[in-house]
């Protein structure tokens, strides 16, 4: 393969990352934000979003693509937070309580999600997406109609005036930034939420470590080749379910971390786009449906949120309309998912052709000239 071709491949493989860096480089000067301002915002957002994005990794390893079903975990986390607020548990203890309530819930939901995806092998992504919508209905039913009516709610202040159902916006003052503030470090002009970063670091260690376990190895095997893994006696379906369960539980914790940073919660919408942002971030970082790393996650969060932060202001300054920037960033978010999926599908095809040619070159073993001629084409 010639050098030019190689360069082309590298460019194509990293098209999304390159595109994003270019966009950001163009948009930053127009936004008028100072570097310090942008960096502080990035520190905050890294703390806020990393956990959610990292929750996507395991299903990718297990070959199930991007887990749009992680929204289920977010819902579990929100139910945990509602409970914590209802009981008036303050500070980091409130977060721990929310996580403890959310854990069994998200395990259950993850199990359901994994089982459903096992029934739809090959289209896990779209299935996860629709499942999230479906569960949104169940969540609404649970929170809007049974809480306060069937499920006892102590605190009237979080209920709608009609006496049951949780308010559309839940004030999280009790736990606001309680994780971030636990160990806030000031370095020069920057505030760094060390505790949050520590939690994320622990998760990273867990993921690295998990990959070294037997289960992690099995997950990789299932992700690479379902049929071979099955014939080697690896319990394929169970392994896939475990991947989704872990992802869902992590999403639950991630959502709690996210919301404590935000300080309030749109009860019926907060989870809607959890999956979208996490998926967009990891794809922007250069991950694909089949391959992702910690680096992809962090790079992606940085690039995506840089873009999200600067584009409304840049749009305002460039076109005199903040809405343009607002729409632009959403366009970029959706577009980047579409683009990554297309590039990936296209790449898979290209690699398949390539692999076949390699196989043929090996297989023909100089038996005939015609075969070589064919391979050269």
């Amino acid at each position: 393969m010639s050098g030019k071709n190689k360069l082309g491949r590298v460019l194509a493989d990293n098209a999304v990352v390159i595109l994003f860096i270019l966009l950001s480089v163009i948009a930053i000067p127009f936004s008028g934000f100072s570097v310090q301002n942008i960096l502080q915002e990035m520190f905050t957002r890294l703390g806020r979003n990393s956990f959610l994005v990292l929750a996507l990794l395991l299903p990718i390893y297990a070959g199930m693509g991007l887990n749009f079903g992680m929204t289920l975990g977010a819902m579990a986390g929100q139910i945990g937070l509602i409970m914590a607020i209802d009981w008036g548990i303050a500070g980091w203890r409130g977060l721990v309580f929310a996580a403890l309530v959310g854990t069994p819930l998200s395990i259950l939901l993850g199990w359901i999600c994994g089982a459903v995806m096992n029934r739809a092998k090959g289209r896990e992504m779209v299935t996860g997406y629709i499942l999230a919508f479906f569960m949104n209905g169940v969540y609404m039913f649970l929170v809007l109609f049974t809480m306060g009516a069937v499920i006892p709610v102590r605190s009237a202040t979080i209920l709608l005036t009609r006496g049951y159902g949780i308010r559309n916006t839940l004030n999280l003052d009790l736990v606001r930034a309680s994780l971030d503030k636990l160990l806030m470090l000031r370095i020069g002009p920057f505030f760094i939420p060390v505790a949050t970063y520590l939690v994320i670091a622990v998760l990273c260690v867990f993921i690295v470590w998990f990959k070294k376990t037997k289960l992690g190895q099995d997950m990789r095997a299932v992700g690479h080749d379902l049929v071979v893994a099955d014939s080697a006696g690896i319990p394929v379906e169970r392994t896939r379910i475990i991947a989704v369960v872990i992802s869902t539980v992590l999403a639950c914790y991630g959502q709690i971390i996210f919301l404590q940073n935000m300080g309030n919660m749109a009860t019926y919408n907060a989870h809607d786009q959890t999956g979208f942002f996490a998926v967009a971030a990891i794809l922007v970082g250069g991950a694909s449906v089949k391959k992702a790393s910690l680096l992809n996650a962090f790079l992606g969060i940085f690039l995506l949120h840089l873009m999200f932060y600067v584009s409304p202001r840049a749009g305002q300054n460039l076109f005199g309309s903040a809405m343009i920037g607002e729409y632009f960033r959403q366009f970029v978010g959706y577009g980047v998912i579409a683009l990554s999926l297309v590039l990936y599908a296209w790449k898979t095809r290209r690699d398949a052709v390539f692999a076949r040619e390699v196989l043929k070159n090996n297989g023909s073993s100089g038996h005939s000239d015609a075969a070589k001629e064919g391979a050269a084409k």
Binding site: T213, A232, R356, K360, S365, H367, D369, A371
Partner: protein, 535 residues
């Protein structure tokens, strides 16, 4: 372990699938450290025998088997291949069961990794143990050494030559501590000669270490050179079982194919006067996975029934698929004096080719549509038939004419169905095959390619299908190229038969040629010294 007691003893094993007998009273023994060469034509029962040995679910689902299998002194009846593995029987399949993104070590130890326990085992079970990479590597290296080949334990499978992949598979099986018996199904099919030689040497090594081997291969030289004992299966019976020293390739070949022939068609075939060259293939190569065609040359005369035979995986199926443009290919196809385009299914259909695919359910039929659709579709698309004008504006499907056509063929080919609107998937295999033939006939082809016309259909239907082909040939003078694994069938039908081996024509024979010649050609035993029979 007594020297005399066999490791594995297969005793009077019989098996039928719904009355279709595939194994009949098969018995043979394997002693520890012995290599058995198991040979037989496609469909002779090799695969079924191995499935029984491994306790594949398909056997119990279809009613089990008769007879007894004694392994290591105990009568066994494995309920899954994993039980067989646990007992110490390993199998290397023809198609690789490797994960291409994994290294050699990881593949050799797939689901058999070395583990270091940690505290999380107590909570989440053994799967949370760490992998002990260094121990894994040691074990892999040990297995590779035992095999006596050179393999890089850290190389990715995807970057390996094919031969090494095969070695990796074998290394995986022999890595298991308990392994006593290794079954190799066509292990050399994808190897080069030198690689195959290395493999054979390592097999002898293994046998010397006390591992018994069942070696299934169509390459008779290899079987002869490596095996201690040869077992020949034919039509489900173990027809020969004798030390390899006592037989020659020619003997084995004739035992493999040696069936009594139905001689009725011989006379007729011999007397047939055929017109001039009509169709010619030069240096055809086709990239069909598993059936790669490398360099094929032959000519067919007008009105001839030309047979293409050979063992599975040698490329015979690739020829017709390639000519019909279904798989990428190259070379020259000359039809009626003009060069026919390759890689364009529509063009070849337009110039009068028609094809009955071997993959009946995958390519041949619209399973979810009616018989009318199945029969009339191709002709509608290519010849614009079965269309009518609606309101003088648009041409739409003419259901009445499609129905008429279908009813015609239902009667002509005696297709058992409830009517033209029945769904294709509801028919039996034989009747589905007739639908495929009807689809091709409806094209009124100048030359018809038929691939494995009798695969997977019952005996009665087989005869009907073959008779239909002969009748069609005789009545319309249609040239037919028929590809089949069943030599018997080709010999009863064809004017000439080409045998394909390793992607090219090993030789072209008259149907009356001695059986062992066919056997020899199929087994790659002789180099193409039969070119003379080229018409």
């Amino acid at each position: 372990m007594g020297q005399d007691s066999p490791l594995l003893s297969i005793q009077h094993v019989s098996k039928d699938f719904y009355g279709n007998v595939v194994l009949q009273d098969v018995s043979f023994d394997i002693k520890p450290g012995e290599i058995i060469g198991l040979v037989g034509e496609n469909g002779a029962g090799k695969t079924t025998l191995m499935r029984i040995l491994f306790g594949m679910p398909v056997i119990t689902e279809t009613g089990g088997y008769q007879g007894k299998i004694v392994f290591d002194g105990h009568e066994t009846n494995f309920s899954s291949p994993f039980d067989a593995l646990d007992a110490g029987i390993g199998m290397v399949h023809q198609e690789f069961s490797l994960i291409s993104g994994f290294t050699t070590t990881e593949n050799i130890l797939l689901n058999n990794e070395s583990m270091k326990p940690n505290f999380l085992n107590e909570v989440f079970g053994d799967r949370m143990s760490f992998l002990d990479r260094s121990d894994m590597k040691q074990r892999a290296v040990k297995a590779i050494q035992k095999l006596g080949v050179k393999l890089n334990p850290d190389m990715l499978i995807s970057e390996m030559p094919i031969g090494h992949r095969q070695f990796t598979e074998i290394a995986r099986e022999i890595n298991r501590e308990k392994i006593k018996l290794l079954v190799l199904d066509e292990p050399t099919a994808v190897l080069t000669e030198s690689e195959a030689e290395v493999l054979l040497t390592s097999l002898r090594n293994l046998a010397a270490k006390g591992i018994s081997i069942i070696f299934i291969s169509h390459r008779l030289q290899e079987v002869l050179s490596v095996a201690d004992t040869i077992v020949v299966l034919r039509d489900g019976k173990a027809v020969k079982n004798l030390p390899s020293k006592e037989c020659s390739i020619r003997d084995i070949a004739s035992w493999m194919v040696g069936r009594s022939m139905t001689s009725e068609s011989d006379a007729e075939v011999a007397n047939r006067k055929l017109a001039d060259e009509y169709f010619r293939v030069e240096h055809l190569w086709v990239d069909m996975p598993g059936e790669t065609v490398k360099d094929v040359n032959f000519t067919v005369n007008k009105g001839e029934i030309f047979g293409i035979g050979g063992l599975a995986g040698q490329g015979k199926l690739g020829i017709s698929n390639g000519i019909m443009g279904l798989y990428p290919g190259g070379g020259k196809v000359i039809f009626d004096g003009k060069e026919a385009p390759l890689n364009d299914p529509r063009k070849v259909l337009e110039i009068g080719f028609a094809f009955v695919s071997e993959d009946r359910r995958g390519v041949g039929l619209l399973l979810d549509e009616s018989l009318e659709w199945n029969i009339a579709f191709t002709s509608m698309q290519i010849k614009n038939s079965h269309l009518k004008k609606m309101l003088k504006l648009v041409k739409i499907r003419d259901d009445a004419s499609m129905r008429k056509l279908t009813e015609e063929y239902i009667k002509l080919l005696d297709i058992k169905c409830t009517g033209p609107s029945q769904k294709a998937k509801e028919l039996s295999g034989g009747n589905q095959q007739k639908i495929c033939l009807a689809k091709a006939f409806a094209m009124k082809p100048s030359i018809l390619f038929v691939s494995e016309p009798t695969r997977g259909i019952d005996v009665g239907a087989k005869k009907l299908v073959l008779d239909t082909l002969i009748r069609y040939n005789r009545e319309y003078g249609t040239t037919i190229v028929i590809v089949s694994s069943e030599l018997e069938e080709l010999r009863s039908l064809c004017d000439r038969i080409a045998i394909i081996d390793e992607g090219s024509v090993a030789g072209i024979l008259e149907p009356t040629a001695p059986l062992e010649e066919f056997g020899m050609l199929m087994s790659g035993a002789f180099e193409s010294n039969k070119e003379a029979s080229h018409a």
